[in-house]
């Protein structure tokens, strides 16, 4: 790779980061003053949240199920299977629930938002909306960001609970634990810091995924092929940013003692 190629690629990357940051600023600016399109936010919460419930429950259940199996198998060697409930709960609430469900959210909701806005962009519907004196950043972006920020934490809570239930099934059926013992193991293990960490991550992930999805949707060009490329970019960038932000938030929380 020549110096010129590297310089040109770096230039493109910095321009993209600048445009993405400017897009954030434009959306953020619009949170200060109405209109907020409450009815559209509500409708989006239904589409984004309620419609994702089944897949989130499936992912949560099987994660808890497998986690209990694997930890139970490992812990049995040390005679420590009594800690399985606590380990499943803490792992799910602090880390696995937020990250895995955010990945599912990026694939289902993020990709859907990009495809929808991208199709609107290439068929001039976004221009039509602006020509009809409506601000797409308010009507389309802010509503989806607010709905995502509200619904991803709710989905993660549901996923965590179902995951803990999945662990319970393994605990009772395969590890010989009683329901009350598993329950007390979970309750004793979880502290406020775990719940806080498990709540703040999906809030950040929800905002990030929806912003990435809207950005790539609204900057789509090149017809239907462009829509496909924009969707791929959304899923890839969101997935990478989920892990990156997860590491940053985890480090920050440890720094402040959480």
């Amino acid at each position: 790779m020549t110096y010129k190629t590297i310089a040109s690629a770096s230039g493109r990357l910095f321009r993209e980061i600048y445009r993405f940051a400017a897009f954030h600023w434009e959306v953020l600016r619009r949170t200060v003053r109405p209109p907020y399109y409450g009815a559209t936010v509500w409708e989006q919460m239904d589409r984004i949240g309620v419609d994702s419930l089944l897949i989130v429950m499936l992912v949560g259940f099987f994660t808890g199920f497998v986690l209990a199996f694997q930890t139970g198998y490992a812990m049995m060697r040390f005679g420590a299977k009594i800690y399985v409930g606590g380990i499943v709960a803490v792992s799910l609430v602090r880390e696995l629930g937020p990250v895995l469900i955010a990945m599912v959210f990026a694939g289902r909701v993020g990709a859907g938002i990009t495809a929808e806005l991208g199709a609107m962009q290439v068929s001039e519907q976004i221009d039509a909306m602006r020509a009809l004196a409506t601000d797409p950043l308010r009507k389309l972006v802010l509503t989806r960001v607010l709905a995502s920020v509200a619904m991803l934490p709710a989905l993660v809570i549901v996923g965590d609970l179902v995951g803990i239930a999945g662990g319970l099934l393994v605990g009772v059926m395969n590890l010989g634990l009683t329901v009350s013992f598993y329950k007390s193991s979970v309750v004793n293990a979880l502290v406020f810091n775990d719940l806080f960490s498990g709540f703040i991550k999906p809030v950040v992930f929800g905002a990030m995924i929806s912003m990435v999805a809207c950005y790539y949707g609204l900057t789509t060009s090149g017809g239907t092929k462009g829509v496909g490329e924009a969707v791929t970019r959304t899923v890839v960038v969101s997935s990478v940013l989920i892990f990156l932000l997860d590491a940053v938030i985890t480090k920050l929380l440890f720094l402040i003692g959480m």
Binding site: A119, S123, E124, D127, A128, R130, A131, L132, T134, D135
Partner: protein, 247 residues
């Protein structure tokens, strides 16, 4: 009145508009004529600030909108309607919801009043009874007519038509042209029609501006266009091969 003064626009190093100056007088229909890709649609989008020019000024009803941010353009856009080349109907909304869109966004009309206005606009474009249909159920010509109904819902002072008859059969094209003239006559709308279809252009135009290679080649009435000796314009009128030469 809308004035475009010395407008230039470049895309990826290609100069699309080179110092274009135009005036749209109240009540008239100005047709911008030119080959595909010569910057006609870009001119419309610049007036509405869907695109921003690189240089030049735009004055709308005496207001210099050149440096207006998006927020200040919103009230101006309520006075303008745009018919997009592909109709650009919101495909997740019904015909009725499309036409009612601007009314619900910008007016305090009751639902009953909105429905009455939607029915009136659809009747104007002879699409009554299609309220519940989805855009995917409409033909190309029907989509254009619904899009016209949507654009006129707020009773705009200015209408912009981007290739309104492209891709339509001659009868449907004639219907669209009649609607453009009817809107001008009954609603006193000033219009800019962008097209490369000369026959349709002569049906609706009060005045022409011919664009070639991003510049205004000639501006004038139908007779002046017909009488022009420029080869490009004569070729255009005859529908023959369009020369790259100016004369």
């Amino acid at each position: 009145m809308i004035q475009l003064i010395d407008i230039s626009k470049e895309f990826d190093g290609k100069q699309v508009l080179k110092g274009v100056s135009l005036e749209l007088h109240d009540g008239e229909t100005l047709v911008i004529l030119g080959r595909s890709g010569c910057g006609k649609s870009v001119t419309l989008k610049i007036i509405l600030r869907l695109l921003t020019q690189d240089s030049g000024r735009i004055v709308i009803d005496g207001e210099d909108t050149t440096d207006y941010p998006e927020e200040l353009m919103m009230p101006l856009r309520k006075r303008m309607g745009m018919l997009f080349q592909g109709a650009a109907l919101f495909d997740s909304l019904t015909v009725s919801e499309n036409v009612a869109y601007a009314l619900r966004e910008h007016t305090r009309l009751s639902e009953q009043q909105v429905e009455a206005k939607v029915a009136e606009c659809l009747a104007f474009v002879e699409m009554s009874g299609t309220q519940r249909l989805m855009p995917s159920e409409l033909s190309g010509g029907m989509k254009k007519r619904v899009a016209l109904a949507r654009a006129m819902a707020l009773d705009p002072k200015y209408m912009f038509y981007d290739e309104p008859t492209t891709g339509l059969d001659p009868l449907t094209s004639r219907k669209i042209n009649e609607l453009i003239k009817k809107l001008q006559a009954e609603h006193k709308v000033s219009s800019i029609v962008v097209t490369h279809e000369i026959a349709n252009a002569f049906q609706v135009a009060d005045r022409f501006a011919v664009i070639k290679d991003g510049e205004i080649l000639l501006s004038g009435t139908a007779d002046e266009i017909k009488g022009s000796k420029m080869k490009f314009i004569q070729d255009f009128i005859k529908g023959g091969v369009i020369s790259n030469a100016n004369q």
